[in-house]
């Protein structure tokens, strides 16, 4: 199985280093366990064009059968902040059905996940964090994909 995940990631990497959709760039993919991507959001005043957000992908050996763990991360150099969105917690955890056990499909890949997150940000109109953000950030110790989010908002 490890072989399959590695082979597939190699293929994805080869494709990604070739051409990527605008606003998405590969930052690092030193090994086949963790990749980092940079993201900009077009045409949304909440996320100015010069604001870049860093996505971190963690792949298990069971990828792509299992979803990658995808979170936003905060950096000081270069400046990367967690984008404000009603489905993104301030610790970077993204509440997106695509990334959890039920919503994931092995047909998805890093590029399609990036595009989904980018469009989720681009269509956002509320400049706010999810309800109970502080409480969640303080109390959550489980890994993102083990969290059972309630997708009460069908608009995302």
């Amino acid at each position: 199985m490890a072989g399959m995940s590695g082979k597939r990631l190699q293929k994805e990497l080869a494709k990604i280093t070739g051409v990527l959709p605008p606003g998405i760039t590969l930052v690092s993919a030193e090994n086949l366990r963790e990749w980092q991507m940079d993201l900009t959001v077009p045409d949304n005043p909440i996320y100015p064009a010069d604001h870049v957000y860093r996505l971190k992908f963690m792949f298990s050996t069971n990828y792509p059968i299992e979803a990658p763990e995808c979170t936003f991360i905060q950096l000081s150099t270069p400046v990367r902040k967690i984008p404000i969105h009603p489905h993104i917690y301030s610790n970077g955890i993204i509440c997106l059905d695509l990334l959890d056990k039920q919503g994931w499909s092995p047909v998805h890949n890093v590029e399609s996940v990036c595009i989904s997150i980018q469009s989720m940000l681009a269509s956002n109109t509320k400049n706010e964090r999810p309800p109970g953000d502080a409480e969640f950030v303080r109390s959550n110790r489980s890994r993102p994909r083990d969290i059972n989010f309630l997708y009460h908002d069908p608009s995302v």
């Binding site: 072989g3 399959m4 082979k7 994805e12 792509p64 059968i65 499909s105 092995p106 047909v107």
Partner: protein, 611 residues
């Protein structure tokens, strides 16, 4: 290749012998299954008895039939060989998903899950999407919660249609053939095999032909694996030592070690062709290789020259920019250091300025917007005023409490404040030991430390000595902080005192009110008594006068009159005594009222002193 052919001779003979046996008995051969290998299913050939018998019967009739049988025999042989190779378990089954394809293939042949050309593809009849059998099984194995008796089922990974893997799910032979005809590299290509084969035959290549896969050693009593290409060299399972790194290993492994692992092997540098130890090759090409193209050391300053490392040194000796580069780099480093220092300094300055502003705000809330040159004058105006207030309050206080502090005043009258220009900060202990009643001479300039002094001994606030002493090198930072914290403490103290005073005042006025009420009642009662008495006296006097007039008018005898006079005089004395008693009572009342008033004054005085 010749070696492997020579190897395969004996199995071929045995196969032919077996087929001869089958031919003779006219029995269908037993199908050879390799059920242990899931990926080898395309190689399995089963002979349906009817078809075989048909081909057997046409065996004598046509050459074509002969050819077909020969083809079958070859397939059987291949199957046998591969199963034998597999049963030796030296070469694990090839994972087709890990293969490298030599030629690009159509994206439509790619499984969306593993992103490889379909391997044993199945189609989901519900939505017509196609996946590798293993891919769809694994996908559903993680999502399906319970065991499903009707075969694997789940949602299509592409369109999420609920689907199942039925008996008729296999796709058409065309797709299988197309994907199996894709040309791949041998999985042993890293070990050195340069073969490219059709994907459908890669298992055979690895299991039978590839010189870089393992097989059992031919030598007797030796069952260790050896590379197929080395099998004819005799048993290689004896220990040898690598010439380069002196590591001990089996002869069979030496070549692989020498080619890939040995750290002391000399390899030709890809750039300069010099033999370089493989463990330093990285460093060589990064730092030393003369054939590597490097840019001039002055590139940071704009020199665009790029040349081979060997010529770069010649260039660097003539290039002005390259000569300047180290100097400028050193300067840049110094500049950076200075910048860091400057940044910390400016941050310090910022903190100080904000501290000053805060102090100004506290000291002169109304004048905080005044120009800077006014500040000094404002200081001079204000601080003495504050001191004056404190002193007067204290003086009143001491008058009530004791008088012997006056003596201490004399002791300290000679004390001088250090001049404000003196760089030595005033000892806090000295301030704390100052007597409370000594009116401090107003300092000529702003003296942050002097300010809290008049209050400090009257209330139990922390002494200035409780604060860290001002730092010797920075006479401003610490006193400022002292002043700020003192102000805070004072403010707290003041609010506490003022609430206490308010409370006291309230209690006092209540008490006074109560006392007053009682007094008024008493006085009213006394007044009423006095009125009654005076009325009685008036009545008694008038009756007496009447009686006197009557006696005068009647001309009564002196003896009787004298006796009557005596009685009247006694009554008059009684009345007088009563009147004087009333007077005394009244004066007592007045005295009491005076005492009250005094007490009240005393209280209010005390309250004011506290303030």
């Amino acid at each position: 290749m010749s070696r492997s052919r020579s190897f395969s001779r004996s199995p071929r003979q045995s196969i032919q012998a077996r087929f001869g046996f089958f031919d003779a008995s006219q029995q269908p051969p037993m199908p050879i299954h390799s059920s242990s290998n899931p990926t080898g299913n395309l190689l399995e050939v089963t002979f349906p008895p009817a078809e075989l018998q048909r081909s057997m019967s046409s065996n004598h009739a046509s050459l074509r039939g002969m050819r077909r049988l020969e083809a079958r025999r070859q397939m059987e042989e291949t199957n046998y060989l591969s199963s034998k190779a597999r049963s030796q378990n030296l070469n694990p089954p090839v994972d087709l998903r890990l293969l490298d394809y030599v030629t690009p293939y159509d994206d439509n042949l790619m499984c969306p899950v593993c992103r490889c050309a379909f391997i044993d593809p199945v189609v989901l009849v519900e939505c017509d999407h196609c996946f590798c059998r293993d891919c769809i099984r694994q996908t559903w194995a993680t999502t399906a919660s319970a065991y499903t008796p009707l075969g694997p089922r789940g949602d299509c990974p592409s369109c999420r249609t609920p689907a199942k893997l039925g008996a008729r799910s296999a796709t058409s032979k065309i797709l299988v053939n197309i994907t199996d005809d894709l040309v791949v590299r041998c999985p042993n290509s890293e070990q050195g095999c340069e073969a490219t084969v059709k994907r459908g035959e890669v298992q055979d290549h690895v299991g039978i032909y590839c010189g870089y896969s393992k097989q059992e050693c031919y030598a007797e009593d030796c069952e260790q694996p050896v590379r197929r290409r080395d099998a004819d060299l005799g048993c290689l399972h004896y220990n040898v030592t690598c010439f380069d790194c002196r590591e001990t290993m089996q002869k069979a492994e030496l070549e692989a070690h020498w080619k890939a692992k040995c750290p002391d092997r000399k390899v030709a540098c890809p750039q300069c062709q010099e033999p370089i130890l493989s463990r330093v090759l990285d460093k060589h090409s990064r730092e030393m290789c003369p054939a590597v193209t490097v840019s001039c050391p002055g590139a940071v300053l704009g020199c665009t020259s790029r040349s081979k490392r060997s010529q770069a040194e010649v260039h660097a000796q003539t290039c002005t920019l390259a000569i300047l580069a180290p100097v400028l780099a050193a300067q840049k480093q110094r500049l950076d250091e200075q910048e860091v220092v400057q940044r910390t300094m400016s941050r310090k300055l910022e903190v100080l300025e904000s501290g000053f502003a805060a102090v100004e705000e506290i000291l002169y809330p109304k004048h905080s917007v005044q120009a800077k040159e006014d500040d000094v004058r404002a200081d001079e105006r204000r601080i003495p005023l504050l001191l004056e207030d404190g002193d007067s309050a204290r003086r009143r206080h001491t008058r009530l409490e004791s008088t012997d502090v006056e003596d201490m005043d004399e002791q300290f009258s000679g004390f001088e404040f250090p001049s404000p220009t003196s760089s030595r900060p005033m000892s806090s202990r000295l301030i704390a030991s100052l007597p409370p009643s000594r009116p401090a001479p107003p300092p000529p300039g702003p003296r942050p430390q002097d300010l809290p002094e008049p209050f400090s001994t009257d209330f139990d606030m922390p002494f200035p000595s409780a604060f860290p002493p001002p730092a010797a090198h920075g006479p401003y930072v610490s006193p400022l902080h002292h002043l700020l914290s003192m102000h805070e403490a004072l403010r707290d103290e003041l609010s506490r005192v003022s609430t206490a005073v308010q409370e006291l005042d309230g209690r006092q006025s209540m008490h006074t009110l109560n006392e007053n009420l009682r007094m008024r009642e008493e006085m009213g009662y006394l007044g009423a008594q006095v009125t009654g008495l005076s009325r009685q006296v008036g009545w008694l006097t008038s009756t007496q006068l009447q009686r006197q007039q009557h006696q005068h008018g009647a001309g009564v005898g002196s003896s009787a009159g004298g006796g009557g006079m005596d009685g009247i005089a006694g009554a008059g004395a009684g009345v007088e005594a009563a009147v004087s008693a009333v007077g005394a009572a009244a004066s007592a009342l007045r005295g009491a009222a005076q005492v009250r008033a005094q007490a009240r004054r005393g209280h209010s005085e005390e309250g004011r002193t506290k303030l």
